[in-house]
Symmetry: C2
Subunit: 473 residues, 2 copies
């Protein structure tokens, strides 16, 4: 029983099932049984390749003590010496760090006085909007900031352009190199070359760890530790979830069961959208992290045999209760094309009581007085669950006893394992991203990059027909 | 020609069309012609009811000078007298104010020194997470803050609970009422009753203006003016777009054409997801505002004849270039179930140059030096457009000459008109939201509200079967 494992994440799939929703609207036992052989094969494929190839992230829960010591020492140095920590990265190099820091730090962290923060203000620069870039100078004294540049290949134009910008801004300080930490491949790549050339402090992204699976390596751990998080508890959460997700019993393995249910939902039932809806502001960015993981891993043109499949459930981020007031109407009355995944927090780290209304106040407002916001937010989540279920909309709830390093480590690792299993069930390569290459080539060609490898794209752009003016209004 | 209208928003639909994408992947001329009679009827229906019923928002571009004067005077008083402005609202009472302020204020506004801001720090409290509620006290001195409570009915539990919380916190100040502004119905409702009882300064939400269409009424205008925006330019933008969207020529009416194209895309071609992807951090929250407008207006169980239709394209927010690194893989290789709508800004309000790399730096990083971030962000948007188009994915671009009050007014009003026309084309009531009622009732029943109107729900909850423990792992 889940209740006997303290602070363990629980997955409640009651409202995905035909037993609850009725046949035709929920997953029936027969469908799960049909997928069982594939699920068992998926488990075997993933577990037998643990740590190999692109499954290097499965080794992250058990990283060497010496590496963790090094990360913690660096984080402590940054906490003591700098007023601001600026992470330069995009996609997998930013979403994990943002998500963990938003979850674990106090809200409105950067606005708190230094004593309440205990560490530097933190900035995650995952876009190249020039207005945003310029504004960083308005709030961060670059002389008093540490910059963590993260890209595995070093070929990420956005991040490398930011690095050049920062390097130029720091150049008057002969010791500027002390202010920069590079997190990159330990084997090859532009950022590694530059880090060696400049003698920058470097952390290694292991070879078998892709961007979207990198939160639990130094990509995420350094930023988490700078933000004051206990990174060992984060990894312990991941390790404990890893054990649960390795069990061969389908109905005791949360990730394998979830993958099987999502396979039935998307492949057999046309539920090709998954809404990720935490009922906690602290978990808002978990949705964004999940969106990348799910979209980029499973959104694939071809299966592993090379046949065109155009796979991929579209993930959508939402926030409870806020988005009840923007999206619930569509979810409960629109097309039957969605699964809604809620997250419920059992104990919040703060509580606010709703004071009683004056005696002469009218109506329902007097009913609210005496409740707490924890009660209200959970009652609203329950109300949404109830309404969706009554409207026969597939929904499920991930229950976190609290938001902490330990539960967050479980949560992120759970999603990673679901994704790995789902890749097997869909028979796609969950660890590549061939579809973004065409965009990168066109970008460089558009900018006039002279290299031979862009010649074909340059010609194609030059030969492209004019846009039809009728279609621009 | 668009170029002859200065600072006018342009809509480029080339990449939605069969002429560009090829038949089967794009909208062909025949499809538009088939929808033309319905589009013309939609135009007539909307324009002939202008200002009536739930089309009251069509009158907002031309509000009385005296009201604008009053809003500006109140905003000036707030700007001069308070360190913080806190908006209490949710859904339509918050998304518009957030979106306009994010677009028009400098980035990281609250962290700027007072002199750079010129007005109070601003907080938009659109959730009831207790951790977030409690944290407000850590950064805002309630004695030095103005609170704008917004709910048309006054029946919004989230907002009214926040009002009670703030009222209680302020109660030691005999003049606390000066710190609270109520924005609500002018006719009836709990908040109106309370505002009268307490003698609060009140702004009126006109009767024919629903929450998601309320940005250009005092709901959004007061917050915009407090943030330093020129609300008359915002309304001028809306008025100019209103004129364009009233023209009976389909190919000259951007909102009517857009609605027709989205009707073909979603109803005939199964493109039942629309991704809204601005390439500018300042426009990020326009996506969230659009998501509510589109989801809640068009996501409907029944059409106006009462037949079950389960209508509604699912809107998804994304941000360029950031989400190229999280979602582009899915968009370019996954199911053909999407339209991707990009927003392009022609001139940013700031520019950052990418400095040249040292001579001894390797590879592509040297190519970046000398470019600007404006060039890079637009080249990346172009690259995404090119890759999507090559993969035969329907995409379009809204071009803003700049982000300003005037262009933003055009943009928001454009989306409102598209939504109104789309409601006609789908034959659904775009102005109600019956699907959220069941959730509200279940919430109150769960909390044990004793009123007779919740009796049935209380019984239903009491009689609900236990959750199946097998399905909780």
């Amino acid at each position: 029983m889940a209740g006997t494992i303290p602070k363990s994440l629980r997955l409640d799939v009651n409202n995905l099932m035909a037993d609850t929703l009725g046949g035709g609207y929920g997953v029936d036992a027969g469908a799960v049984e049909r997928w069982r052989p594939r699920a068992e094969a998926a488990l075997k494929a993933v577990q037998s390749s643990r740590g190999q190839g692109w499954l290097g992230w499965m080794d992250l829960p058990a990283q060497p003590e010496s590496l963790l010591d090094d990360i913690e020492a660096m984080a402590e140095r940054i906490r003591l010496n700098y007023d601001a920590f600026v992470l330069l990265g995009i996609g997998g190099s930013a979403l994990g760090p943002i998500c963990v820091n938003e979850a674990l730090r106090p809200p409105r962290y950067n606005e708190l006085p230094k004593a309440r923060r205990g560490g530097p203000r933190m900035y995650f620069e995952d876009n190249i909007d020039p207005e945003r870039m310029a504004s960083l100078r308005a709030v961060v004294d670059f002389r008093d900031a540490c910059f963590n540049v993260i890209t595995k290949s070093g070929g990420t134009a956005e991040t490398m352009s930011q690095y050049l910008y920062v390097r130029d801004a720091l150049r008057d300080n002969p010791r500027w190199r002390d202010q920069v930490v590079a997190t990159t491949s330990g084997v090859k790549g532009l950022l590694l070359d530059i880090a060696r050339l400049e003698g920058l402090k470097t952390f290694v992204i292991p070879e078998g760890v892709g961007g979207r699976f990198s939160e639990l390596c130094p990509v995420g751990l350094l930023a988490a530790a700078v933000g004051g998080a206990d990174i060992r508890a984060l990894l312990k959460g991941a390790a404990d979830m890893d054990a649960r997700c390795a069990t061969p019993e389908l109905w005791k393995n949360p990730a394998l069961l979830e993958a099987a249910l999502m396979a039935v939902a998307s492949v057999e039932m046309g539920r090709n959208i998954q809404v990720m809806m935490p009922y906690a502001d602290s978990l808002r960015m978990v949705s964004n992290w999940f969106v990348q993981l799910w979209a980029e891993s499973l959104g694939k043109l071809v299966n592993r045999a090379g046949a065109v499949v155009n796979a991929g459930q579209t993930p959508v981020g939402a926030l409870g209760v806020t988005d009840q007031h923007s999206q619930l109407q569509l979810y409960s009355e629109g097309p039957f094309d969605k699964v809604i995944t809620m997250m419920k927090v059992e104990t919040f780290r703060e509580e606010t009581a709703i004071p009683r209304a004056p005696e002469d106040y009218p109506g329902d407002i007097r009913f609210l007085g005496g409740l707490t916001h924890s009660q209200l937010i959970e009652a609203e989540r329950f109300g949404t669950e109830y309404a969706l279920t009554r409207a026969k909309r597939m929904n499920q709830t991930i229950i976190l006893p609290e938001v902490s390093e330990y539960t967050l480590g479980q949560l992120l690792y759970f999603f990673e394992m679901v994704t790995a299993y789902m890749g097997e069930l869909l028979d796609v390569d969950a660890f590549n991203q061939p579809g973004v290459e065409a965009s990168k080539i066109a970008t460089y060609a558009k900018l006039g990059h002279p290299a031979e490898r862009y010649a074909e794209a340059r010609s194609a752009l030059a030969a492209a027909p004019e846009r039809d003016a009728r279609y621009i209004i």
